[in-house]
Point group: C2
Chain length 399, copies 2
DNA sequence: ATAAATTCTTGACGAAGTTAATTTATCCGC
DNA sequence: GCGGATAAATTAACTTCGTCAAGAATTTAT
């Protein structure tokens, strides 16, 4: 008789999923508390929690921190055992693969970069499989258990038009792909259950479950860099768009009324991206500095040094972003917006203007929308992919 | 023993609600078809449908129109009996009350206008109660049964910040109200179960169930007139906004980058409403015509007659609206957008430009978003209120 | 100690929907 | 006009999920 595979997370009913996600995302919580937060009866929580404890996914904490000063039986909070299962997340860009191993809480344990030397599908699949093998064979700095025995799920993030349900890359401009069944190919190559998602949406999932989005019924994540994108979560659900398009804040027209509106790749005019993308900023900076070889780094340091025309370039970009956020907040009314981006270096030049413009444009109580602005480390994209893999435990059926 | 009240719609389980709404919104459907569309088993449909038939809400049609040409037992489609229950809808504006009686399908049977002579809460409640009494006592042109015996629900639509769940008017600029528990007051005064909703959201509900929104998982409704507003339905749910603000397309900044951006009441700059509201159009028209007494009607007729500067005023407004729609479509990717408005008279001057701008600005497959542009009859607002009342059959518990 | 409070557990119960077999009603070929 | 094919509708047994209510466990307060 062959050795049986280790038990997987026993998600057998809606209640089981609810209880597990609550403990996963809201830290240690007593059963009664889970019941209160979810609306389930406490009996249901007890029943749903047991299999998770038996399978090693949850544990009972000896309620050390005594939160309840009154009488009564003390609570024994449920806590996740993050090392019970590991997840692989890979972000594919045009130039490289970034891979991570995370635990159940999507905390990164190991990270690896590989250069991507070609864009043909079989080549990418092979390179990604190599990366996965390397990640599975690696050991965490803390010398944790071998990942291989406890990793079953792979999450992959790609920019462009991606259909999570079918595991299809519909269109990826960076890779030059159309309708590639990537999830299936990777599943065959790696043996791992594979979930594919758009990169910004993946990042948003990570935020929703393990970041600023925890506890917010609705929020938006905006990424600023080469492109400007966003994704929205409403009522705990990622907004998909009827035709696959959603969250294209980069193509919200904020400057399309004047006679000298900038043109955008997308064919539109006055898009946020035509003003505030890295490329657009560099172009503007070169123009005002009358230096066609100026780089982003040059522009940043000269602006920091007080170069007024260059400072205005960044302020204009910040203004455009703030207007985009205003449009988002007025239309959608999220509880919170997280603005994150590669161009970490230049945040000090943006942030003020973004906040000021947003405050001016937010209508009525939309100003109460929390605005978090912060850098975006590179592995974060891969972490997003891993978070999607974690989430796939709950809704895994490919269509 | 007192005569028992007539049985109400027997909505006792999720399946019952699903079946009933399916038949209500998708016209006559056979049980198998309902099962296919909803994912329920056909046994469940049979069970859920029976009580509705017994209570007179649904009936079985003798499958006259033979849709299935093959063999087999012919389907006996389920159809709604629209006259089984009537609903009252009232829209409150600053100047008048518009009230309607509708059937279950939210078809208007009778409509009445009353002038509103004051804005004090008791006065409005009394006037509205009078209107309701008059509506209930009226008879439809076709001499239908007395409404009074079969009307139990009242829907009320008000512009401004309205909390449907608590039945509270948080803030109404036109009435000068703050935190008025209108639903409760009207329930006491009329004896009808009362649901309160923001006017644009109410209109959207009507559209979602009985108009263009049927069958679309997501869509938006935009109203153009004195103000410019919108509401979104995503996954069948009306987007509320974490802080009560959502759908404020009128305050999406589409012209806030240039030096001569128009100012808006809201404190922002370059809002759609600052360019395309009735007021803004009249102001622009007066400027270009150098005639401070010009009216909207004058402007429309002169533009129609070929006055180029005035035509450009309307085109500019249409452009601004198109940009707002572009922002909406790029952020949410709805399946359809309905643009509707009071300024019916001027549609021919807008429509082209709206469509052209939208087509330019919609990103990728967002262009596939259907755009319906059409006038908005006055009673439509009250019909929206009635539609909310119909919907309250399903989710009626006040918080 | 005894009582009160609070968490957690247990087993019976009930609601809701599914599966699978059955009945009903029509069309089709002969 | 009759038997068979075919599909819709119904029925009854069963499964699943979660609630309810009672009680066990474990603490503080009197």
């Amino acid at each position: 008789m062959p050795r049986s595979a280790p038990a997987r997370a026993p998600i057998t009913s809606p209640a089981a999923a609810t209880v597990f996600t609550t403990v996963l995302t809201q830290g240690p919580v007593s059963r009664v508390d889970v019941a209160r937060r979810t609306g389930l009866s406490s009996a249901a929580v007890t029943k749903a929690a047991r299999p998770f404890i038996e399978a090693g996914y949850l544990e009972e904490l000896a309620s050390a921190g005594r939160t309840a000063p009154g009488a009564g039986r003390p609570a024994s909070p449920l806590a996740i055992r993050p090392d019970r299962e590991y997840f692989i997340g890979v972000k594919i860009t045009g130039d490289d693969l970034i891979g991570v191993v995370t635990d159940l809480r999507a905390q990164i344990r190991v990270a690896r970069h590989h250069a991507l030397t070609g864009h043909e599908v079989p080549h990418v699949v092979a390179a990604l499989t190599d990366l996965v093998t390397e990640l599975l064979g690696s050991r965490a700095p803390d010398g944790a258990t071998n990942f291989r025995d406890r990793a079953y799920c792979l999450g992959v993030a790609v920019s462009g038009d991606v259909d999570r349900d079918s595991g299809l890359v519909r269109y990826s401009p960076f890779l030059g792909w159309r309708d590639v069944p990537l999830a299936e190919l990777l599943e065959d190559a790696t043996g791992l259950a594979t979930t594919l998602e758009n990169d910004v949406k993946a990042l948003t999932v990570a935020e929703q479950w393990f970041g600023e989005g925890v506890g917010a019924s609705s929020f938006a994540l905006v990424t600023v860099g080469t492109g400007i994108g966003s994704a929205l979560v409403l009522d705990g659900r990622l907004v998909g768009g009827a035709h696959g398009v959603a969250g294209e804040i980069g193509h919200v027209p904020v400057a399309a009324m004047g006679p000298d509106s900038p043109l955008c790749h997308c064919g539109g005019t006055g898009c946020v991206e035509a003003i505030a993308s890295t490329e657009a900023i560099v172009a503007s900076a070169r123009r005002v500095a009358a230096d066609p070889a100026l780089t982003m780094d040059d522009a940043v340091s000269r602006a920091r040094a007080g170069d007024e025309p260059l400072r205005r370039v960044f302020a204009t970009a910040g203004h455009a972003i703030g207007l985009g956020l205003g449009a988002l907040a007025n239309l959608f009314g999220p509880e919170r917006i997280v603005v994150s981006g590669e161009g970490v270096a230049a945040y000090d030049l943006f942030e003020d203007q973004i906040r000021r413009t947003f405050a001016e444009q937010a209508f009525g109580s939309a100003v109460r929308c929390g605005l978090v602005i912060r850098p975006l480390p590179f592995e974060e994209w891969a972490r997003g992919a891993a978070a999607v893999a974690v989430q796939s435990l709950f809704v895994s059926d490919r269509l």
